[in-house]
Amino acid sequence: MILARFLLLSLFLLLYGPLQAQGSSNNAIQAGSELLRKADTLENQARKLIQQGSKRRKDIKQQRQTVLRLPPGPEKTALEQRLEQAIAESLGTQRDGAELRKQAAALREQALDHFADGLRQQWPAWATKRQSIQLSDGFSDVPALGGHNVRMRSVHPSKKDLAGAPETQQSNDMSLALPRLSAQQLPPQLNTDSFTFSRDRRFIGHIEVLPESVRSDDGRIEINELHQWVLVLSDLNGEPVSDAAIEFTGHMPGHVHGLPTQPEVTEELAPGIYRISGLKFQMRGWWVIELLVSASSDAADQQDSLRFNLHL
């Protein structure tokens, strides 16, 4: 009897131990946090430099007006030379700012890698994939598959050429020319990461198909079929964000239409793990999913946002 209880307890600990440990951030998340802090510091410096540069440019513009009004002479020449120098300096400042900003972005990407690793360690059942949602037919990676595309709600007969015509693009191993997004180009390297920082960098979110909601074994979805996702929502310390209010929207850039259904968060499966139900895609192409998130402690009007790109 005692042995049985002991076994049960061990089993319990074995199963729930990792869940208990979820609260404490793991090394990867710590590393991610550090990188993100560094990135933010760099970003701030970059912003300052860019602002400085812009201010200098404004001053220079004014000074140039003054110089222009001066009669020709040594004073004008000297001032002109000084202006040239100032222009070069301001350009340098802006370049430095841009460079820092690039470094910050790279650091953020690295940070996201660490966070993704950390969250996958922390929630191995819910966070397994790095690639966002794909179709089961195996053609999600074909860049040429775009879908129809319009950039305006309706085209007045006199302006119909504004809409342009759909373009087609061939893929290396396909001879079929498939429609390409014409009005709103699919970016050449669309980021389809299933992990993302929120806009205000308060959260990190991950989306994944709930495997039991689809027909395929590998968690890929069928076109035109309802299915469910899980959203893993964590703060930047790796703590799950519970009881969040989440609004779900999705649209196709360049199309005026959105999703054919109104998906909703229907359940919090575990702390910070949300079930999203009622998802369906009626078209291939580039989809943007936006989740508007308010933590339970947030003010009524405070809303952060998680954006994911899908290329179906």
């Binding site: 129809h148 015509a165 001879s175 429609p179 035109n224 959105g258 009626q282």
Partner: protein, 398 residues
Amino acid sequence: MMRWQIKALLMVCLLGACGKPLPPYEHGLTDRDIAFLQTFSIDNLPALPEAPDNIYADNEQAALLGQSLFFDARLSANGLVSCATCHQPEHYFTDGRKRGLGLANTQRNTMSLLTAAWGPWRYWDGRKDSLWAQATEPLEHPDEHGFSRAQLKALILRHYAEPYSAVFGSLSKEAHDATRVMVNVGKALMAYQRRLALQPSKFDRFVAALGQELAPAMSARLTGSELNGLRLFMGKAACASCHNGPLFSNFEFHNIGAPETDEAKVDLGRYAGIEKLRNDEFNCLSVWSDAPESACQELRYLKSQGPELVGAFKTPSLRNVAETSPYMHGGQLASLADVVDHYNAPKPPFYDRAQHPSRPHFDILPLGLSKQEKAELVAFLKTLTSPVPDNDAWWNPR
């Protein structure tokens, strides 16, 4: 490319016709093209969707009863209108008319039933969410069968008591009031329609042969212009965006700017359909449905807002499209050539501030197809016609 030719030759040898290989045939499609085309093949049509709202959906007795009822014109006020009046098997269960004609002219073009078992919505505006619920509407509609529930129950008692009771239980039971009888008639009609199967079309046989790395039989070879049409369909003409999957439909709603049938009384399409669906006496969440609430997912996550719903109509399947003219929700376009012309140079949807809740969304772009390309596209669409089966007992009255 040689591999299928050799295999084909071997097959031909096995069939005892060695020495007479098929003439060479260049289609120019890569393996990946073929794999992509297979996503449109009838061979990849998933099994009939589950129907938790109709426990008789796959009951053969119910289907047989449904078949009898389908062709029975006594189910109408004047004894002349049956389901088959508009859904004629020889016309792929359509009627060749702009708008259906029962006791009077209906508002919309008759849709084919051959693919009706798939997809979540019925009717052009999706105002019904099951085939059984759909079947009840024409029975009672004054322009269609013009029958009443009481008349229907009396008719079932008189002519169908036995097969009805065998499936649904004794009619004398109190539970079988007139509405219950009509619902059960609807469920039998649905069970019948789920038996209507399509044979492979030329396109399907073409893709199947290529998929098995066989040279397609002569009758399954797409001609040059059909092949070009296929390429246009998947590519430049962007038809496949919405007409996707084995039934060439995404079953959803789009406004493609089809001309209004009556500008004084605009058709709001899906926008109005959603209200009807929600308030429908027979929807998935109704007491007449056999489904638990949890099975009514489409209704639960129904999209009910957005400009894209205004004047939007369901993407029809393109299977047998060449044989089911005229086209669009009101039969506005007479021929496939007219349809392709419309897509090639679409007019934006008619907009009347007084009648529309918001400016209708417009879902298509001018295509810039040449005269030849338009003809090729039509040629391809004609390869989607399945033969009318001559030995399928479900296609005609027994």
